[in-house]
């Protein structure tokens, strides 16, 4: 059956970032509300109140996003649409694969680094990570790579191991 234009625009509206946010909040609220079922009434009362509020806010954000999409305008409230996020630099707001590619790869590198900490220990993992991430970022000057790696490892050793006596992970060979 062919999709009606109205239905198509509603589907597109539901894919807008704000609608996805609203729907995600609704989904989180429902899942967590279900998790409160085994709790005693006293232990569940506050989380349920918080989740009910989150559910309401999620629904409100979704409705506003759908209405905004239907009217062909951005979903932000007019009164505060141009407010500057306080003291924080904002993300681009774009969701294209081209924009998300580098953050996703960066995250994979970071996860790989953290996974390696317990295997080969903090300092070897950090050296590998720094060299890898600097290369990924486009730093090909060996002096920069060596300087940053040696400088940071030295700083961490002095501050965390020597001064603060933090037992950093030594890995399987430690």
């Amino acid at each position: 059956m062919p999709v009606e234009p109205d239905e198509r625009s509603r589907t597109t509206a539901l894919r807008s970032p704000d609608a996805v946010l609203g729907l995600s909040l609704i989904a989180i609220s429902v899942v967590f509300l279900a998790c409160t079922l085994p709790l005693s009434a006293a232990a569940a009362a506050w989380p349920r109140a918080v989740l009910a509020l989150l559910l309401f806010l999620g629904a409100a954000i979704t409705v506003r996003a759908v209405r905004a999409a239907a009217a062909g305008r951005p979903a932000a409230e007019p009164a505060a649409a141009d407010a500057v996020p306080d003291e924080e630099e904002g993300a681009s707001g774009e969701w294209s694969p081209a924009v998300l590619r580098r953050p996703a790869l960066t995250m994979l590198i970071v996860i790989g680094y953290v996974a390696l900490l317990d295997v080969i220990g903090f300092f070897p993992a950090t050296v590998l990570y720094l060299v890898g991430h600097l290369w990924f970022g486009g730093s090909r000057d060996l002096r920069v790579v060596a300087g940053v790696t040696a400088g940071l490892c030295g700083l961490v050793y002095l501050l965390f191991v020597h001064e603060l006596s933090v037992p950093l992970p030594t890995g399987l060979f430690g």
Binding site: A80, D82, L117, D118, F136, G138, L152
Partner: protein, 511 residues
């Protein structure tokens, strides 16, 4: 403050450890602020773990020093490369960059340093004068008031930190939800632990802070090609220090902006960006003739007005944070996290039982502002170099510091994974315009709100609304909550009007 307390506070302050911590905080803060893309809030979050091994005065003075110095640091890139290091320095760029193009970059930086120092000092004195009496009010608080204070704090930061009211409130509510994870202290029931022992003690504040503010910022920076590099700063030219005549011309502007900044800072939720725009616009309004014509074309008064105001906001913003537990901005929300980690609960007790520590920190903040002014003028040529460090080098360093800092809190790899999860959550939320500050505040205030409400139910014996309305302090707080719901549209309108006025005037003058 009596003499005994003053001496005790000074004794706590003037130790090698505290002096070193303040100096490191000032230098680090200026560098962080000068780097476009990095904010003071992020720097504070990243350095909280280092303060663990320090005494409370040294650690918290360092965090306050970073806050003050990063606010000034934002002007370095605003003046030299027309890119505000922090949104609070946006108004500074209007005249600061024009001065750089005229070969007066060094002088603009010096004026910015002097104005920031004076603004910061005025705000530090205001903090010393205003905080103790306001804290007395909090001594009268009981469970109902604590609940209302938590709600008020969340409404305020949720409404003003975001571009959208609904999203700001949703962020605060998410924070409240995260705060419920772990064993319920009153019933002993595990909530949302999903059978994991690591979650039974709840989500630790520091990993969440570092993830939400620092790692998520790394991912934001990664969007800009991981990132490439920063624009090359103009070389510093011209005479650095302003002449006596120039200083006289900007004195009234600095004084006025300092007052405005303190006032804006004390209002919970109104940050440095609002303060600097109001300071800038008022300076312009008070100027006449050629002085007024100069705004937007390279006016030293314009730089002084914006910078005095945004630094005056810092001490003002610490007043509601220290006395009522309501942080005025993202940075003070994170500093409040640091305060709690050092066992200091905002409120009256900070000014009674822990008065010598609290006063030492406030005096440390005062000292940090003096040091910032001196170092900013003496080291301007070196701080400029910071704007030339490419992001592609900084990003891996920040990640490694996020990891080691988070691990150091409890020597726990589980915390590191929590930090990573919050980093991804923070990034995704920022992409849809949800700011991280309300989440952190929800996380901090969640337990206070729940405990306050539960105890209120017991104390009210069935008539909760009647009980709340029978308590004068609760009624005042309820009124403030209603007012806070009306404030965001007004603040947004003010911001828009100020920015539009400045832009229109600049366009007119350019034409």
């Amino acid at each position: 403050m009596d003499t005994q307390l003053l001496l005790s506070a000074l004794d706590n302050l003037f130790t090698w450890e505290v002096m070193l911590a303040i100096t490191a905080g000032v230098v680090g803060g200026i560098i962080i602020g000068a780097l476009p893309g990095l904010s003071g809030t992020m720097g504070i979050a990243l350095l909280i773990p280092i303060t663990f091994g320090m005494d409370a005065v040294a650690g918290l003075s360092m965090l306050a020093a970073i806050y003050a110095a990063a606010t000034y640091g934002g002007s370095v890139s605003a003046i030299l490369i027309n890119t505000p290091g922090t949104p609070a320095a946006a108004a500074t760029a209007l005249d600061g960059y024009q001065l750089t193009l005229q070969g007066k970059g060094a002088k603009a930086l010096a004026v910015s340093a002097i104005a920031s120092m004076v603004g910061g000092l005025v705000s530090a004195f205001a903090l010393l004068l205003l905080a103790p009496p306001l804290a007395q009010v909090s001594l009268a608080f009981s469970a109902p008031e604590y609940f209302l204070i938590a709600v008020f704090g969340l409404l305020i930061i949720g409404s003003l930190a975001a571009g959208s009211l609904l999203k700001g409130f949703a962020a605060g509510t998410l924070g409240l939800l995260v705060a419920t994870i772990g064993i319920d202290i009153l019933t002993g029931f595990p909530r949302f632990t999903f059978g994991t022992t690591a979650l039974q003690s709840g989500i630790e504040l520091v990993p969440a802070l570092i993830g939400l503010f620092s790692l998520s910022q790394v991912l934001v920076l990664a969007e800009g090609r991981g990132g490439g590099g920063t624009a090359m700063a103009h070389a510093l030219k011209g005479r650095a220090l302003p002449t006596l005549r120039e200083l006289k011309r900007i004195t009234a502007t600095i004084a006025r902006s300092s007052g405005i900044g303190v006032f804006v800072g004390v209002l919970p939720g109104a940050g440095g960006d609002i303060g600097s725009w109001i300071g800038y616009n008022e300076a312009k309004r008070f100027s006449k003739g050629a002085d007024r014509e100069e705004f937007g074309k390279g006016s030293l008064k314009g730089v002084a007005a914006a910078e005095a105001a945004n630094n005056a906001v810092t001490g003002g913003a610490m007043v509601p944070m220290l006395t009522l537990g309501i942080p005025g901005s993202s940075a003070t929300a994170v500093i409040m996290g640091g305060l709690l980690i050092h066992g200091m609960q905002p409120g009256g007790r900070l000014f009674t039982e822990q008065a010598d520590t609290t006063y030492a920190i406030m005096l440390g903040f005062l000292l940090a502002n003096v040091l910032m002014g001196v170092l900013a003028i003496a080291g301007a040529r070196y701080f400029v170099l910071a704007t030339r460090v490419p992001m592609k080098v900084l990003v891996p360093i920040i990640v490694a510091l996020c990891v080691v800092g988070t691990y150091a809190v409890n020597n726990s790899m589980a915390d590191v994974w929590v930090m990573i999860v919050f980093g991804v959550i923070g990034y995704l939320l920022r992409k849809v315009g949800v700011p991280p500050a309300p989440i952190v505040l929800g996380l901090i205030l969640g337990a206070l709100a729940e405990k306050g409400l539960r105890q209120s139910f017991v104390m009210a014996q069935g008539d909760l609304i009647g009980y709340y309305l029978s308590r004068p302090l609760s009624v005042v707080l309820l009124l403030l909550i209603v007012l806070s719901l009306a404030a965001p549209p007004l603040a947004a309108r003010m911001r828009r009007r100020m920015a539009a006025q400045a832009a229109t005037a600049k366009e007119r003058e350019d034409a």
